[in-house]
Symmetry: C2
Subunit: 223 residues, 2 copies
């Protein structure tokens, strides 16, 4: 039975990879920079995105978001208040987003009119690592309240990302957050990775994050 499951799983992942490849070409052709945000539930993906969308729009950039949750459209409603185009993907029991879900929710989005598309994955530090969504950049978020050893406990996910964002740094002191250990652990799993330290509440670190997005957008393949 294990062999059959492994084969089925490989079949699903292969199909996902094919769909993701198609999405990646589509995004590149449209000239939109796509990011896939992954973290535990409650790390603050939506809060970071909310502030990011507001600041990008204030600077004249065009940004949109797809947001994944098992249930509710709370996050989409929260993000839509920024004025950006936002769509909720409800997975109804599935613990991660898949390329097919992303593809289905792009209908009606004018991709060529966008500079950035953020995909907020389902809160989960395991399964999203296996599913390519066609993104150019995969981002792991880790909050100061979660414990510094998460990269070591979830190495597959942290090893699959391009950049890491430490969130809620306004709470660092209250949580006795050990910054040096957190950075060491991230670096152990993903040596040399760029790490941002942010607070969506106070705005700390947002400038570096937005500069990074802007630079990545500039080097994205153009139409």
């Amino acid at each position: 039975m294990t062999t059959r499951i492994v084969e089925l799983r490989q079949g699903i992942l292969k199909k996902n990879d094919e769909l993701a490849r198609g999405l990646r070409e589509r995004f590149a052709h449209a000239g939109v920079l796509v990011l896939n945000l992954v973290s535990s539930p409650g790390t603050g993906k939506t809060a970071l995105l909310e502030r990011t969308l507001r600041e990008l729009q204030a600077s004249g950039a065009r940004a949109a978001a797809l947001v994944g949750d098992l249930e509710t459209d709370n996050d989409a409603r929260r993000l839509a208040a920024t004025g950006a185009p936002v769509r909720q993907i409800n997975t109804h029991g599935i613990c991660h987003l898949e390329a097919e879900m992303v593809g289905k929710h792009l209908d009606g989005f004018e991709l060529a009119g966008l500079d950035y598309l953020f995909i907020e994955n389902v809160g989960n530090l395991v399964c999203p690592s296996s599913y390519d969504l066609g993104e150019k950049i995969r981002v792991a978020l880790l909050s100061v309240t979660e414990g510094e050893d998460k990269p070591l406990k979830y190495p597959t996910l942290f090893n699959s990302v391009d950049v890491a964002v430490i969130t809620k740094i306004d709470l660092a002191e209250a949580c006795a957050f050990d910054r040096a250990t957190a950075l060491k652990n991230i670096n152990e799993i993903r040596p040399g990775i760029r790490v941002f330290e942010t607070s969506a509440k106070t705005g700390a670190g947002m400038e570096e994050w937005l500069d990074y997005l802007c630079a990545q957008r500039r080097t994205a393949p153009s139409r």
Copy 2:
């Protein structure tokens, strides 16, 4: 393909349920109260358990723990410092504990010599809900830093638990935690469930939690 996957999944869950039934009988026969702790990564399962094990032992009770993580034995080492018997279960890529893993790690534990056995699940708000581990009580933990809407976003898990523990209440003010909304959301998914509000750091709420454990232990089936 979907049909075959559903059948395979049902087969796996059925086998798990059978093994869990066997474990439940074994635990009841030994007179040990077994709890399964589920939450996001970083909610503070280990911190709550650390303090719980210390306080139970100080009161003369005999408590042990099994702790699940994809990788590392950090949590087992941390809990073993309490003096309690502790075993780490590494799932190596599997995002939840299964009854078979629990069964395999009981060898050498003298169950009849224990009052309490805590099983700390892998940090995940989705898949652990489907896997019975033979526990008497399933506990959902939710920290004040994670957002009050988690029960609504992960209803399957919250609907499967017997009791909820809100953790890190020492950070409630710093996080602008909305207690009334959190309690309302928990109650919407699992009406009338008992909710504890704790801080493993300050000890707040620990007395009510320990009283509850003691009362549950008293009413557990005796040998």
